[in-house]
Protein backbone atom coordinates (compact mmCIF):
# COMPACT_ATOMS: atom_id res chain seq x y z
CA UNK A 1 0.00 0.00 0.00
CA UNK A 2 1.16 3.54 -0.67
CA UNK A 3 1.65 5.78 2.29
CA UNK A 4 3.56 8.64 0.77
CA UNK A 5 1.66 11.46 -0.78
CA UNK A 6 3.48 14.11 -2.73
CA UNK A 7 2.16 17.52 -3.48
CA UNK A 8 1.80 19.15 -5.79
CA UNK A 9 1.01 16.43 -8.31
CA UNK A 10 2.38 18.64 -11.05
CA UNK A 11 4.57 21.71 -10.99
CA UNK A 12 5.62 23.97 -13.85
CA UNK A 13 8.27 26.64 -13.35
CA UNK A 14 10.75 28.73 -15.31
CA UNK A 15 14.43 27.94 -15.49
CA UNK A 16 16.28 29.56 -12.63
CA UNK A 17 13.37 29.39 -10.22
CA UNK A 18 13.28 27.13 -7.19
CA UNK A 19 11.03 24.08 -7.07
CA UNK A 20 9.60 22.73 -3.83
CA UNK A 21 7.89 19.38 -3.52
CA UNK A 22 6.34 17.96 -0.37
CA UNK A 23 5.80 14.44 0.85
CA UNK A 24 3.64 13.25 3.72
CA UNK A 25 3.59 9.79 5.24
CA UNK A 26 1.62 7.91 7.86
CA UNK A 27 3.75 5.48 9.86
CA UNK A 28 7.10 5.68 11.62
CA UNK A 29 10.10 5.42 9.35
CA UNK A 30 13.78 4.50 9.41
CA UNK A 31 14.61 6.91 6.64
CA UNK A 32 13.03 8.77 3.76
CA UNK A 33 14.40 8.83 0.24
CA UNK A 34 13.82 10.95 -2.83
CA UNK A 35 14.13 9.62 -6.36
CA UNK A 36 13.93 11.15 -9.83
CA UNK A 37 12.48 9.48 -12.89
CA UNK A 38 13.14 10.89 -16.33
CA UNK A 39 10.59 10.00 -18.97
CA UNK A 40 11.00 6.42 -20.13
CA UNK A 41 13.76 5.66 -17.63
CA UNK A 42 14.22 3.91 -14.33
CA UNK A 43 14.22 5.74 -11.03
CA UNK A 44 17.46 7.27 -9.80
CA UNK A 45 18.19 7.82 -6.14
CA UNK A 46 18.78 11.46 -5.19
CA UNK A 47 19.10 11.71 -1.45
CA UNK A 48 18.40 9.78 1.75
CA UNK A 49 17.57 11.41 5.06
CA UNK A 50 17.51 9.38 8.26
CA UNK A 51 14.75 9.68 10.82
CA UNK A 52 17.11 11.44 13.27
CA UNK A 53 18.15 14.05 10.70
CA UNK A 54 16.27 17.25 9.99
CA UNK A 55 17.99 18.61 6.91
CA UNK A 56 20.33 17.37 4.23
CA UNK A 57 21.96 18.96 1.22
CA UNK A 58 23.34 17.57 -1.99
CA UNK A 59 24.39 20.06 -4.64
CA UNK A 60 21.29 22.04 -5.59
CA UNK A 61 19.05 19.73 -3.58
CA UNK A 62 17.89 20.41 -0.06
CA UNK A 63 15.73 17.93 1.82
CA UNK A 64 14.03 18.53 5.15
CA UNK A 65 12.32 16.03 7.39
CA UNK A 66 9.82 16.77 10.13
CA UNK A 67 8.99 13.51 11.89
CA UNK A 68 6.48 15.20 14.20
CA UNK A 69 4.43 16.22 11.17
CA UNK A 70 5.40 13.12 9.19
CA UNK A 71 6.43 15.21 6.25
CA UNK A 72 9.43 15.97 4.08
CA UNK A 73 10.21 18.53 1.43
CA UNK A 74 12.57 18.52 -1.52
CA UNK A 75 13.86 21.86 -2.73
CA UNK A 76 15.65 22.18 -6.06
CA UNK A 77 17.36 25.53 -6.32
CA UNK A 78 18.17 27.37 -9.55
CA UNK A 79 16.28 24.83 -11.61
CA UNK A 80 17.37 23.81 -15.09
CA UNK A 81 15.47 22.35 -18.02
CA UNK A 82 17.31 19.08 -17.34
CA UNK A 83 15.55 18.87 -13.95
CA UNK A 84 12.31 18.14 -15.79
CA UNK A 85 11.25 14.74 -14.44
CA UNK A 86 8.97 13.03 -11.95
CA UNK A 87 10.10 13.06 -8.34
CA UNK A 88 9.10 10.38 -5.86
CA UNK A 89 9.49 10.10 -2.14
CA UNK A 90 9.82 6.69 -0.53
CA UNK A 91 9.79 5.79 3.14
CA UNK A 92 11.86 2.98 4.56
CA UNK A 93 9.73 1.03 6.98
CA UNK A 94 10.07 -2.35 8.53
CA UNK A 95 6.83 -4.28 8.35
CA UNK A 96 7.50 -7.36 10.43
CA UNK A 97 10.74 -8.75 9.12
CA UNK A 98 10.20 -7.32 5.67
CA UNK A 99 12.08 -4.21 4.74
CA UNK A 100 10.54 -2.29 1.92
CA UNK A 101 10.16 1.17 0.57
CA UNK A 102 6.68 2.61 0.46
CA UNK A 103 6.29 4.94 -2.47
CA UNK A 104 4.42 8.16 -3.02
CA UNK A 105 2.55 8.98 -6.19
CA UNK A 106 5.14 11.43 -7.45
CA UNK A 107 5.35 15.05 -8.49
CA UNK A 108 5.76 15.81 -12.15
CA UNK A 109 8.09 18.78 -12.55
CA UNK A 110 8.38 20.73 -15.78
CA UNK A 111 11.13 23.35 -16.01
CA UNK A 112 10.58 25.65 -18.94
CA UNK A 113 13.60 27.19 -20.65
Amino acid sequence: SQQGEEDPQALSIQEGENATMNCSYKTSINNLQWYRQNSGRGLVHLILIRSNEREKHSGRLRVTLDTSKKSSSLLITASRAADTASYFCATDTTAGNNRKLIWGLGTSLAVNP
Binding site: Y35, R41, G42, L43, H45, L48, D92, W103, L105
Partner: protein
Protein backbone atom coordinates in the same frame (compact mmCIF):
# COMPACT_ATOMS: atom_id res chain seq x y z
CA UNK B 1 29.22 -1.09 -16.13
CA UNK B 2 25.48 -1.49 -15.84
CA UNK B 3 24.45 -1.99 -12.22
CA UNK B 4 20.93 -3.38 -12.74
CA UNK B 5 20.01 -4.67 -16.17
CA UNK B 6 16.73 -5.98 -17.52
CA UNK B 7 15.84 -7.77 -20.70
CA UNK B 8 13.97 -7.22 -22.85
CA UNK B 9 13.48 -3.45 -22.86
CA UNK B 10 10.26 -3.75 -24.87
CA UNK B 11 7.85 -6.67 -25.02
CA UNK B 12 4.77 -6.73 -27.23
CA UNK B 13 2.65 -9.84 -27.08
CA UNK B 14 -0.85 -11.20 -27.48
CA UNK B 15 -3.32 -11.88 -24.70
CA UNK B 16 -3.01 -15.36 -23.31
CA UNK B 17 0.69 -15.74 -24.03
CA UNK B 18 3.37 -16.51 -21.44
CA UNK B 19 6.43 -14.29 -21.19
CA UNK B 20 9.48 -13.78 -19.01
CA UNK B 21 11.51 -10.75 -18.02
CA UNK B 22 15.05 -11.17 -16.73
CA UNK B 23 16.93 -9.05 -14.25
CA UNK B 24 20.53 -9.10 -13.15
CA UNK B 25 22.45 -6.92 -10.71
CA UNK B 26 26.22 -6.76 -10.31
CA UNK B 27 26.21 -4.70 -7.13
CA UNK B 28 26.43 -7.60 -4.71
CA UNK B 29 23.14 -6.64 -3.10
CA UNK B 30 21.17 -9.21 -1.16
CA UNK B 31 17.70 -7.85 -1.86
CA UNK B 32 15.96 -7.54 -5.21
CA UNK B 33 12.51 -6.27 -6.16
CA UNK B 34 10.00 -6.25 -8.95
CA UNK B 35 7.78 -3.21 -9.39
CA UNK B 36 4.92 -2.45 -11.74
CA UNK B 37 4.40 1.12 -12.90
CA UNK B 38 1.12 1.89 -14.59
CA UNK B 39 0.28 4.64 -17.07
CA UNK B 40 -0.32 7.10 -14.22
CA UNK B 41 3.20 6.42 -12.93
CA UNK B 42 1.89 4.69 -9.84
CA UNK B 43 4.76 2.48 -8.63
CA UNK B 44 3.57 -0.72 -7.01
CA UNK B 45 5.84 -3.28 -5.40
CA UNK B 46 5.14 -6.82 -6.52
CA UNK B 47 7.82 -9.04 -5.03
CA UNK B 48 10.99 -8.90 -3.04
CA UNK B 49 13.66 -11.53 -2.62
CA UNK B 50 16.41 -11.55 -0.06
CA UNK B 51 19.23 -14.02 -0.72
CA UNK B 52 17.00 -16.03 -3.06
CA UNK B 53 14.21 -16.16 -0.51
CA UNK B 54 10.81 -14.58 -1.20
CA UNK B 55 10.09 -12.03 1.52
CA UNK B 56 7.43 -9.81 0.01
CA UNK B 57 4.51 -10.86 -2.15
CA UNK B 58 2.07 -8.02 -2.49
CA UNK B 59 -1.21 -9.70 -3.51
CA UNK B 60 -0.07 -10.25 -7.03
CA UNK B 61 -2.10 -12.70 -9.16
CA UNK B 62 -0.52 -16.13 -9.19
CA UNK B 63 -0.07 -15.78 -12.93
CA UNK B 64 3.05 -13.88 -11.92
CA UNK B 65 5.86 -16.09 -10.67
CA UNK B 66 9.24 -14.71 -9.67
CA UNK B 67 12.31 -16.92 -9.69
CA UNK B 68 15.68 -16.19 -8.17
CA UNK B 69 18.32 -18.72 -9.26
CA UNK B 70 20.96 -16.82 -7.30
CA UNK B 71 21.08 -13.55 -5.43
CA UNK B 72 22.25 -11.63 -8.49
CA UNK B 73 19.25 -12.63 -10.60
CA UNK B 74 15.52 -12.20 -10.21
CA UNK B 75 13.35 -13.18 -13.14
CA UNK B 76 9.63 -12.63 -13.59
CA UNK B 77 7.46 -15.08 -15.49
CA UNK B 78 3.92 -14.13 -16.43
CA UNK B 79 1.37 -16.70 -17.56
CA UNK B 80 -1.80 -16.08 -19.53
CA UNK B 81 -1.12 -12.40 -20.12
CA UNK B 82 -4.07 -10.02 -19.83
CA UNK B 83 -4.63 -6.52 -21.18
CA UNK B 84 -4.32 -5.10 -17.67
CA UNK B 85 -0.78 -6.44 -17.40
CA UNK B 86 0.37 -3.75 -19.81
CA UNK B 87 2.74 -1.53 -17.84
CA UNK B 88 6.40 -0.84 -17.27
CA UNK B 89 8.06 -3.39 -15.00
CA UNK B 90 11.11 -2.35 -13.03
CA UNK B 91 13.63 -4.51 -11.28
CA UNK B 92 15.61 -3.01 -8.41
CA UNK B 93 18.19 -4.07 -5.90
CA UNK B 94 19.15 -2.71 -2.55
CA UNK B 95 21.67 -3.00 0.20
CA UNK B 96 20.36 -3.04 3.72
CA UNK B 97 18.52 0.19 4.63
CA UNK B 98 20.10 1.98 1.73
CA UNK B 99 18.87 3.30 -1.54
CA UNK B 100 17.44 1.16 -4.28
CA UNK B 101 19.06 0.88 -7.68
CA UNK B 102 16.65 0.49 -10.55
CA UNK B 103 16.93 -1.19 -13.88
CA UNK B 104 15.89 0.66 -17.05
CA UNK B 105 12.47 -0.98 -17.12
CA UNK B 106 10.63 -3.34 -19.44
CA UNK B 107 7.66 -1.88 -21.26
CA UNK B 108 5.11 -4.67 -21.66
CA UNK B 109 2.27 -4.18 -24.11
CA UNK B 110 -0.43 -6.82 -24.26
CA UNK B 111 -2.61 -6.68 -27.37
Amino acid sequence: DTAVSQTPKYLVTQMGNDKSIKCEQNLGHDTMYWYKQDSKKFLKIMFSYNNKELIINETVPNRFSPKSPDKAHLNLHINSLELGDSAVYFCASRRQRGEQFFGPGTRLTVL
